[in-house]
Symmetry: C3
Subunit: 140 residues, 3 copies
């Protein structure tokens, strides 16, 4: 009999610099395999306000382009009000644009990522330890 | 025996000006508690095209910075084509950037928000009454 | 007895030009009706890195405004590093801003979209065939 299941795991990663992008696809694939869920969805969530999650291609030049675009839209040198409290307004603003999470379909126990899609943690206020909460829900 | 559950609720809030950010975390926490779901996800969705939902820090200066950034990216003074129909293209464009919803993990009947994370409704065409559809799904 | 269900379908659409927006609401509504799910959520996901999914109004002038904004934020004429590999960095960057998916509530077997909300595929590197993975989960 098919049963409904919700599996939960937490992954930790270390970012290496103020701005960094870390490919976490392999870790999320491992979590999905561990979950026993065959058909459903995986939610990849960072409980942070200065790092986000995107799904895109991991070509090295593009990863630099993504960070350049985020900097151009969030202007680290601008006199943001939040910088009177903590000098990282640009990183909060970048998380508003990328979002804290992505939800990806799972079929036959595997992620339905497109050919070029990778799950990427976008660090904008590193280096730091970052947590990723992985929730796999669906039919086991 | 553990059972699969989907709980649905609707919250209404009043925005106070054209641009406004409203912290709805407490209301979503109440909905999650009411749902009886112990492990799962909560989807916080606004059925609107000129208001969005983000998850970030509720520091007052930062909230103004977020609105300033959204204005700078969506240019309320620009001659957008939609303004011939309704003078709020900037608000639609801001919703495209923030998105209408966020999905957040739930464990032990509580939101797994990070230390600084708050659930924020972003009003860009107020003041208005806004609806928030809350869906809590998972294991009861 | 109420049962938990996860339904999966794939839709294909053809974009007509480099930048294009396609209203896929009707197709998603059909998928939700087919699924038999009465209360739950539908995840609309594109397995692509140069097209995204948004939920907004389908007024023709606004659709052009959305594409104009995305072009202004992602600058197709800029010398992005990724353009040495493939001349479409702007499209990848636009997908980072729109996201590959949206999740929408379902009640009584119908989408809980707001009055003006439509589900829109945003093409930024067409014309092409694009796939949309639809996952409907909840109580049947």
């Amino acid at each position: 009999m098919v049963e409904c299941s919700v599996w939960r795991g937490v992954i930790e990663v270390e970012s290496r610099s103020q701005y960094d992008i870390i490919d976490v696809t392999g870790m999320v694939e491992g979590a999905v395999a561990s979950s026993g869920v065959k058909r459903g969805l995986v939610n990849v969530y960072v409980p942070h306000t200065t790092a986000g999650v995107i799904v895109n291609e991991a070509e090295p030049g593009l990863l630099e382009d993504i960070l350049e675009m985020l900097r151009s839209l969030t202007r680290p040198g601008h006199e943001w009000r939040h910088n009177r409290v903590d000098n990282n307004a640009h990183a909060h603003l970048g998380q508003v644009l990328t979002g804290p999470a992505k939800t990806i379909p799972v079929e036959d126990g595997k992620l339905l990522l497109g050919t070029w899609q990778r799950i990427l943690l976008v660090e904008m206020d590193g280096p730091r330890t970052r947590r990723i909460i992985v929730t796999v829900s669906g039919l086991a």
